[in-house]
Symmetry: C2
Subunit: 360 residues, 2 copies
């Protein structure tokens, strides 16, 4: 492939569009006549302010973010959000969590430090191979919010429809499906996503939060960096942000806009995932691990049913130039992450290889 690049199926940090990387490479030593790299730019300079403001404006167009939602750029990954969400959003001290895999489980455990956190539903009985029925759950009357991880990167599940929260605020970790399909932001009180899955370089979360949920009456011991109002009132520039991530993500937002936006990404992602799932459904060697209705379009875990055979297949794939297909250490098996930037050709090449490997 161009530049000697390979098909990279990493779950994150993950594949990015080549044309975005070409732009980045061309600007490393001198960003558009500024005489400096974006890495060397004062975050208070006019040139960086433009980069930051365009990134936010483009994201707002891409997702159709309503005016009463703030867009925040925060460091510390989803892990820090696991604490910031309850610290900032608990008022009654009660929240309902739906646990559908490793990431919502981590969020649930962290939240329990800060209030009465109910396990509203869990997929544990199915070993997280399916999303539980979320159409009629006993949402706590005094819950400050209902929390989900909308796409579980490790277990490969996604919600086919959002839970019925009975009017309570929905908070969603969209990290591994962010910008993969259209999203009606008004359905949520808050969405956040680590950008290192489907957008750009690691080290930044995008948080989209309804303004009325940003409170000032927090526990006075709350670290200033962990308050959403700190970031909201300072356009995410209370302190130096991850300016490189803002810059690169901004380029990805523009790439998505000029390639048909989220509707087109959805179409492509459905098509790409179908190629892989169709093969897995027919294969005699491999099979997917997730119930058909709950399958992620982004992260596709599969197994042979035998750990040694799984390992042999990963090794053979690596030798053939398909990287990062080993399943997460906590679940084993194999996993292909096929984010927006994975071309259809990459999935086709993988399936061709798997067929040959299987001897079909």
């Amino acid at each position: 492939m161009e530049y000697g690049r390979i098909f990279n199926f990493s779950a994150g940090p993950a594949i990015m569009p080549v044309e975005v990387l070409e732009e980045v490479a061309a600007e490393v030593l001198n960003y558009r006549g500024s005489g400096m790299s974006v890495m060397e730019m004062s975050h208070r300079s006019k040139v960086f302010e433009t980069i930051r403001n365009e990134a936010e404006a483009d994201l707002r167009i891409l997702m159709g973010i309503p005016d009463n939602y703030k867009v925040l750029f925060i460091q510390g990954g989803a892990t820090l959000q696991f604490a910031m969400v309850p610290i900032n959003l608990l008022q009654n001290g009660v929240a309902d969590y739906i646990v559908t895999g490793a990431w919502s489980e981590k969020a649930y455990k962290e939240a329990r430090k800060y209030g009465k956190i109910n396990l509203l539903a869990s997929g544990k009985a199915s070993n997280y191979s399916a999303i539980p029925d979320v159409s009629d759950l006993p949402v706590s009357p005094d819950a400050d919010y209902v929390y989900i991880c909308e796409n579980e990167t490790i277990h490969g599940t996604t919600y086919s429809e959002l839970p019925n929260t009975r009017g309570k605020i929905l908070v969603s970790d969209q990290s591994s499906m962010f910008l993969s399909k259209p999203c009606n932001v008004a359905d949520y009180g808050m969405i956040y996503a680590g950008v290192q899955k489907n957008v750009g370089p690691a080290g930044m979360v995008v948080a989209i939060i309804r303004e009325d949920l940003i409170r000032k009456d927090l526990d006075p011991k709350t670290p200033v960096y962990l308050r959403y109002d700190t970031h909201a009132e300072n356009d995410s520039m209370y302190n130096t942000p991850n300016s490189w991530a803002i810059y690169v993500c901004g380029k990805v937002f523009k790439y998505l806009l000029r390639n048909g936006g989220l509707a087109e990404m959805d179409k492509r992602n459905i098509e790409k995932a179908k190629i892989l799932y169709d093969y897995l459904d027919e294969s005699k060697l491999f099979h997917g691990t997730v119930a058909a209705k709950d399958r992620s379009l982004m992260n596709v875990p599969f197994v042979t049913g035998d750990a040694e055979k799984d390992a042999a297949a990963v090794k053979a794939m690596k030798e053939a130039g398909f990287e990062n297909l080993k399943g997460h250490k906590s679940v084993g098996g194999l996993r292909a992450s096929i984010y927006n930037a994975m071309p259809k050709e990459g999935v086709e090449a993988l399936v061709d290889f798997l067929k040959k490997y299987e001897g079909v």
Copy 2:
């Protein structure tokens, strides 16, 4: 200049070595035959593990970090450290802070949320134009640590000698002087630095902390991301780190090692700063704002004594291609930040311009 680059006197993010940026540019689309950008690499992959481990190993050589100190890479900037330091290090609940400018003042204010924080000494009476005498201070007998900001980026002061802590642990924010001169790490319990001043791109702090200070018996409500033990026990990979910053900083560490290390940087920085301070001491138009013994070699604030004249000078400098010489909005005036990567030629060119501007 090469690549149309200019002399960039930004206080941070700030100038980086051209040869580091050249390497980065060449590797954006394919890092050394891996077939992918570092931005696209799983942080759990062998290739990234090597990048991370080399960065730490090189930093250890550069600073001579003893084996009983951990090196941590943490997101959230110095602002998050302002909270993490007291949250993690307070045991008796008492600490002594020396306030010498804007950044130690911010750290002091944040720390007061978490314990009995004493103002051990302050430069406020001199408007932070000098470091108070720190040779014989009434250190609290039960203080868990003494805190300093070793170089104040805004006020342009630095410590000519470290405070006498009477055996208490010294914690130092070295952000704007990190790696500018040799450092005896054993003099400190903990050093931390936001890397976006003197090293690399924004979005990461390097924390160097003595192992016995990393506690497990913290308040159970402490967010997992804010615990030093979380980062220490997982080689700073509990969650996805700012892998791009680790990569670029690693290149700067190698650049410093092959250019004579910190002793050589110190020599160059003394020489560079002398050119500027000598001019300011002689100038009839401009003068430095800091007592001679406490002058930073990194951040050089200066004024005419008239805000309008200051603004006119900043404008003229910008037109002549010298960027980011406006003083911080909180203090006004002018400021030249002359970090490791600023060549002597840059300082000479600035002084030549200032002389002509003054009409000498």
